[in-house]
Each structure stands twice: as structure tokens, then as C-alpha cells.
Symmetry: C2
Subunit: 328 residues, 2 copies
């Protein structure tokens, strides 16, 4: 299991590979670790590396590990939403490994909606020949919480900046709330879903609505000053909310993949009060698959962030691998 650079964890165990016979391989140097995996591939093929980091540098080694017949289970979005060449290199590597008789798999359920069965369901739909038309969802627990509180049909919420400040105090946002409001994390999940559907889509290919006012996007404004100054744009947000409310609608921050049109978008949009997005509670995620078999969408809802549910997704992936890997 690969862990991130958390100061409480002995650096000795940062990169280690524990084999079935109890051998522990420790490597603080990713290059040497990767070379070792390759050289020892006859011995270590079929093992699983669990990458519990969010590290692009670690993700860049996946193709080499997969080619050596080593499986990967991870919630690390960097590997799947980054450069398309890395995505393709992983697929090439699994083909190489398969041809060499060391089949390897990379499972990453927890990259979208944590433990919610989002990617496993999408993979089942695709593998059984369904035609996925659209995938639409609320993929950020933080933005779910903010708009579930702010944009109600009753319309009696405090100003948007106050709700953001409260969420920051409760630890519901990143240390700098702009990291949530930018929509970048939602966009990464949209890229992953689109790519699983076979679209060659990257972050630069579609529009992501940044909820941080243009004047406050400058990194020289610190996180605290940002929260104070966010009130300047409360009136603009209130106008959008009032317009939605007048039409009997609510605002939700939604990621959308249109598979047929091969496009995606991430934006704050208005939904009628009867839409499932409107009745979302707390900080739940929700994803709706509209397909040939499910013209009325197949919908999955629940907590999409947090340690326990992320670990659940990783454990479920590990068990899937265990069932599929029979040593002969």
C-alpha cells in the first residue's frame, strides 16, 4: 500500500510491497521501486498495489506496474483525469501484460463518488451492451451541501457567502474554499466518467463554470481574505437564485456527460422542484445514468466523500480483484 506524505507515517513504509509470503519491500525511491517491480515480475505479478495517495508522480508509474502484471486499486484521480497519454499508456500496459500471460487490472471505484457503486454500475452497463446516453450528477459533497442549503424552493436561506463561511468553519470545504468552488474536482470526475464511456476527453475540452468571482481568483488573495470578500458577489448569486425560484426551480452544481454528442459540461444550473437533484439532502452525491434500457435514469445517491466510504470503495475493488485472480 502506498500512502501519501503524511508526517505521522513512518517514511520507511511510504512505498512498500508486502507479498503473500510476508516479504516486505520498502522503497522510498519510485524509480528504483518500479525497476524492482519490472525485474521481479515473474515473482510479483498478480500482487496488488493500493495507491492511497493523490500524487500525480505515483500515478505516472501505473503503466510500468501494470505491464509487470501488478494490479492497482486506487482513489487517486490524477491517474485517470490527467493527460490522455497516461490513460492510453495504462490501457496499452494491460494489453502487454495480458499478452505476456500476466493479466493486470486497474480498479478505481473511489475516484468518482467514493464508495458509491458508480463506476462498477457504469462498467456493467457498458459490458452488457447497453447504450449510455447521458450521465448527469452532483459529484461534490461540498457543493451539494452549499446549494442544498442555499437554493431551496422556500427560498429562505442566508446569503451565499455566509453559507460558504459556515461550511469552512465546519470543515466541509478545503482549507481554501476556492478549491471546491472552482469546480476542478467535479470536472476531473466528469473526465473519468467520459473516458470510461470511451470518449477521448480532457479537462481542456469542455467548459467548467468557476464559482469563484473573477476578481477573487488571484492567488495573492489568501483564503481568509477570499471568504471576507465573497460577500461582494452575494447580490449576483441572489439574482440567479431569485430567477430560478420564480420558475419553481432550484440551483444545483452539476456535471454532465453527453455520450452521443461526445461532450461534457460542468455548471450551476436550475432544476424543477420535482427533479431528484432538488430533494438531495446534506452533502450527498447523486449520479443518474440515462441509457437505452433506462430511459428513466438509473440513479445512485449517498455520501460521496469521507475516509470510511472511500476505503469501502477500495476494499470492494480489492475483493473484486481477489475473486477474479485465481493463481494456478
Amino acid at each position: 500500500m502506498l500512502l501519501g506524505a503524511q508526517p505521522t507515517i513512518d517514511p520507511q513504509i511510504r512505498h512498500r510491497l508486502q507479498t503473500a509470503d510476508g516479504t516486505v519491500v520498502v522503497a522510498r525511491d519510485l524509480n528504483r521501486f518500479t525497476t524492482f517491480c519490472h525485474e521481479q515480475r515473474d515473482r510479483y505479478a498478480g500482487l496488488v498495489i493500493v495507491d492511497a495517495t493523490a500524487d500525480a508522480e505515483v500515478a505516472s508509474r501505473y503503466p510500468a506496474w501494470l505491464a509487470a502484471g501488478i494490479h492497482i486499486v486506487t482513489p487517486n484521480k490524477k491517474a485517470f483525469a490527467g493527460d490522455l497519454t497516461l490513460w492510453e499508456a495504462m490501457h496499452d500496459a494491460t494489453r502487454v501484460a495480458q499478452a505476456a500471460g500476466r493479466p493486470s487490472h486497474v480498479l478505481h471505484e473511489s475516484t468518482v463518488g467514493a464508495g458509491l457503486p458508480v463506476l462498477s454500475t457504469l462498467n456493467d452497463l457498458l459490458a452488457t451492451g447497453d447504450e449510455v446516453h447521458t450521465i448527469e450528477g452532483i459529484f461534490s459533497g461540498t457543493l451539494s451541501y452549499l446549494f442544498n442549503r442555499y437554493s431551496t424552493v422556500a427560498g429562505d436561506a442566508p446569503p451565499f457567502s455566509e453559507i460558504v463561511a459556515t461550511a469552512r468553519q465546519l470543515g466541509y470545504t478545503e482549507p481554501d474554499a476556492r478549491d471546491d468552488l472552482s469546480g476542478a474536482d467535479v470536472a476531473r470526475k466528469v473526465v473519468i466518467l467520459a473516458r470510461v464511456c470511451g470518449l477521448h476527453l480532457s479537462l481542456a475540452d469542455f467548459t467548467v463554470e468557476n464559482l469563484v468571482p473573477a476578481a477573487l481568483q488571484d492567488a495573492s488573495i489568501d483564503a481568509h481574505a477570499f471568504l471576507t470578500r465573497l460577500a461582494e458577489s452575494d447580490a449576483a448569486m441572489a439574482a440567479r437564485q431569485a430567477a430560478a425560484r420564480q420558475a419553481g426551480q432550484v440551483l444545483r452544481y452539476v456535471g454532465h456527460v453527453d455520450v452521443a454528442a461526445r461532450t461534457a459540461r460542468v455548471s450551476l444550473a436550475a432544476y424543477p422542484a420535482s427533479h431528484p437533484f432538488a430533494s438531495l439532502q446534506g452533502s450527498d452525491n447523486m449520479v443518474a445514468f440515462t441509457t437505452r434500457r433506462f430511459p428513466q435514469p438509473l440513479t445512485i445517491q449517498g455520501a460521496g466523500a469521507g475516509a470510511a466510504v472511500t476505503a469501502f470503495g477500495m476494499m470492494a475493488d480489492l475483493l473484486r480483484l481477489q475473486r477474479s485472480v485465481v493463481r494456478c
Copy 2:
């Protein structure tokens, strides 16, 4: 693949086993077929029988087939909601097969919610050590449709008997609508969910609210006469709806498993307008798992009946088996 007694299907292919090398074994006699599977177990272990019937007689042979190392994929609820001894015999048979080096599995995703990932999600929660507190859901597409139309917050629906008659005309109910209104089908799904959670529960162990008025349960009243006379109880149903509406609630026909209390119930109950059950559309099913990791429930929603989505669940099970069965 085992098919039901549909007159359009050549009886010759009713019970057949097609092997990887193309051999087709045809048997119209289940006893001889089962004996054959047992005698030829060294040759046929690892094959899959897809039971597409709803036949209790076929289900009674599952233990023998599983013991011979043959996998089963089926939407046949009879095998899992019937006598507890059959359920236990299947588990004993898989242990026997495992010990004999012919591991076999029975997968039945489509028995609850058709292709919706209900049982796979429940199995993942349990296998990864989560603690399931309750499972609550709307498990009948027909009853979902009836109450989504009848019981709204607006409260402007036609009488209940009229909605049932319309649903019958549209083919949304069984030929005799009492087969839906009795709740027996919902109760079977509740039994399956409870047993997957480890409860030794059978249909006789809990209360199922029968929506057929007592005076109309007599089988001597035919399906048509039943529909005509159902209007006699419209006033009683309207009173329940009015009481719910006065409290800002709607009526939904719900199955409930309380895992900690080891009990279940199936009943028409009132839910607040903000509850996810209240915003259900069309004939969708919905199931909510409340667990240690998901105190706010993990919820799955979508079409839970129909040929295409039932076949989807069976195909997904077949692919799961294919991934897990590596011939050495």
C-alpha cells in the same frame, strides 16, 4: 439456459446444457438432467446454468447442480424466498463443491429490482465489513406506479380503484391485479434481502399488508369482478390518503428489513413530502441501505421490472462469473 414453458419455444430446448466445445445436452426430464450433471461433473463443472424460469421445481435442483460444480445465474425468486431448507441446502452444496475443488456460485441480482445493482451493492457492503442497519424500499414497479399516481401532496388523484383499472388496461399489473396488491412479490424480495444479511427469515415470519379488501380475497371472485368491486373500498383508501395529506405526507407501499432487530415488514406507510420515496416517478423501484458507513442512506433507484433490465442483471452476473472463473 433453462426457459419456462412458453409454447413458442421448442420443448426440445427447454432443458439444455451447451458446453464450451459445442456439445448440447437436451433433457426434458429434470431428474435425468440432474443425474447427468452429477455423473458428468468432472466434465461440466465450471459451466453455468441460466435458469430463466420462475419455477419452484427447477429451483429445487439448484443444490444438486451446485454440488456438481455448476454455477447458477437466475432471476427465479422461488429459489431464495421459499423454504429456508432450500436456501441452506444451496449453501451446503457450494461448500461441498468448494471442498471437492469444483467451486460453484449462485448469482441472482435480478431477483430484487431486476438489473438495479441492489444485491451486488449489499454483498459489497457486507463483504467489506460494513454493518447494515436497515434496508427499506419500494420493490414493486406496479405498486410504485399506483401510489405515485394516487398519493400526491397535491391530492388531486382519481379514486384508487380507477387507477388500478387503468394500470390493468395498460398492462402494468398482473392479469389478476390482486397478485400485485397482495404484496406477496414484495415480501419475497424482502425475504431475499434479509437472508443475504444473514437473517433466517421466511414469509411466514413477518406481517405483509394485503391491499386486497378481505371480502375480495376469495378466489371464486374472478379478476374482472374484483376490479369492479374494488370501488367499494375507495372510501377507506381515501380516508388514509386524506389523513396522510393533512400531515404533509404521502402513502407508499414499502418493504422494510431491520437487520439489528432481525425483523421485517411490508406495509402501506406514510412518508413526508421531503422523503425520497415521495418524489419517486413512474414505476421506479427504490432501495435505501442505512449502514454504519452510510447513516444517511445509500440509495439506488430506477426501473425494477421488465425484460431488458432483468436480462441486464443476468448478463452482469454472467460476466462477474466469467471474470471469477479462470480455467487452469
